[in-house]
């Protein structure tokens, strides 16, 4: 599953725009990933700072 490193996240929302199942939402300064996530890894691959980690 995808873990969010909130210390690294710059809440740019870029990950939301490539999520194929609409599992990610950006709430101002906090992203949340819900149970719809299919672990495709798109967001992990995209994240400019590596704030999303596949575990």
């Amino acid at each position: 599953m995808v873990r969010i490193n909130y210390d690294a996240c710059l809440y740019c929302g870029g990950c939301v725009g490539i999520c194929p199942v609409d599992a990610i939402t950006l709430y101002e300064v906090r992203i949340e990933i819900n149970e719809k996530c299919v672990n495709c890894g798109n967001c992990v691959e995209f994240c400019p700072v590596g704030a999303l980690v596949m575990e």
Binding site: G14, C19, C47, V49
Partner: protein, 392 residues
């Protein structure tokens, strides 16, 4: 609460849409999820004078943080090509101020705004949208005849309306930027663009001068990269000691840049503008101009639709048609060019730096490909790529 037009997102696309719709006399509300309009930016903040003229936009002088005469492009071995001339002149904005100014212009025309207000869902009932929003005062439902998704790459409006706004990872730049102070030896009259597979794979690095700082950033296609965008930027700064020896960051930004437009732009009572519809130049990734242009076109159609009380998808489709009339052909060429450029190796960039003049590169950004094809097919190393990607 009931409005004619609810706009989700108060960036340049949202606030220009609000200004136009309020000017037409409609009841307009903008909701912005952030507590402050305009920051943090996801942008290098550049726009050309030519673009502003076409948009008939006279900037408030406080929005302008840098005046630009042209661009200096650097090959991997630092061969320099200078682009200048009237068409290249432009500004580096301060987005925090620019976006607040655009909002103030919309408010002056009568638009209402709610900040720190997040749209959390919407449903269609009796030919209107009911949009749920959440803010300091709790959860509210807003009824709207038309909802405009100006909600950026993370657009939810599009998805709620059943439109496909999912970007492909191969058409989506992973962007990172430091705003820095203390740079040396950088000509502040130019933006500076750096190419190379090791600099920024499938993208480029940039330095944009501002009043007392510089936007230093890069975009890459993450799928074709060996490291995170952040690592490439650290490396770029490390490798240019002559520029960055005494430089320090005063801000860090990131963002996704949607460099290929594919989304259907309307649905019943819904329109998408700006980044939400991937309206970005596919070659340089600039989005402010197209975002505002999309709102100019969308607002004309929305005004007519409201006046005729016909908010159907068929009616709103006029916006998409008008957009395509202006951009479809140009975009196709620019996408071809992008495919070609993405496949260049570093020695190809060196070759291009030798055979292209500044004005050639400007012509390329305007999707003029014929002369370019003639030039590159004479170079055996570029012939194969040119045949594959540039020639029909």
């Amino acid at each position: 609460m009931k409005v004619d037009c609810l706009i989700v997102g108060a960036g340049p696309a949202g606030s220009v849409m609000a200004r136009e719709m309020a000017s037409y006399g409609h009841n307009v509300l903008v909701v912005e999820k952030k507590q402050e309009i305009g920051c943090p930016k996801r942008c290098a903040e550049g726009i050309t004078k030519h673009g502003l003229d076409k948009l008939e936009m006279k900037l408030h002088p406080l929005c302008i943080f840098g005046k630009i005469r042209g661009a200096m492009l650097y090959s991997p071995s630092s061969k320099k090509v200078v682009m200048e001339g009237e068409q290249m002149e432009g500004y580096v904005l301060e987005r925090k101020i620019f976006e607040k100014w655009l909002a103030s212009e919309a408010i002056r025309k009568g638009a209402s705004y709610m900040v720190k207000t997040q749209a959390i869902g919407m449903k269609r009932e009796n030919k209107e949208w009911k949009v749920k929003v959440r803010n300091v005062e709790g959860i509210h439902e807003i009824k709207a005849k038309i909802v405009v998704g100006a909600d950026g790459v993370e657009s939810k409006v599009g998805r709620w309306a059943g439109l496909n706004t999912i970007n492909k990872i191969t058409d989506y730049h992973s962007g990172i930027q430091f705003e820095m102070a203390g740079l040396n030896k950088i000509d502040e009259n130019y933006i500076h663009i750096f190419f190379g597979k090791e600099v920024a794979p499938y993208g480029y690095a940039w330095i944009f001068p501002k009043a007392f700082s510089f936007n230093v950033g890069l975009g890459i296609i993450a799928k074709n990269a060996k490291m995170r965008a952040y690592d490439y930027l650290k490396k770029f700064i490390e490798e240019h000691k002559e520029i960055f020896e005494n430089a320090q960051p005063i801000e860090i930004n990131a963002g996704g840049v949607p460099v290929s437009h594919f989304t259907e732009m309307v649905s019943d009572g819904v329109m998408l503008v700006g980044d939400a519809a991937q309206l970005v130049n596919p070659i340089h990734g600039g989005g402010i101009y197209r975002a505002i242009h999309s709102s100019m076109i969308a607002s004309k159609v929305a005004n007519e639709a409201l006046n005729k009380n016909d908010l159907s998808k068929e009616k709103l489709k006029e916006y998409e048609k008008k957009w395509n009339e202006e951009y479809e052909e140009k975009n196709k060429k620019l996408m071809k060019l992008r495919n070609f450029l993405e496949r260049l190796e570093d020695n190809d960039f060196e070759l291009l730096a030798e055979i292209l003049e500044g004005e050639d590169i400007y012509a390329l950004t305007q999707a003029k490909l014929a002369f370019f094809i003639k030039k590159v097919i004479k170079k055996p190393s570029l012939l194969r790529l040119a045949k594959k990607y540039l020639i029909d």
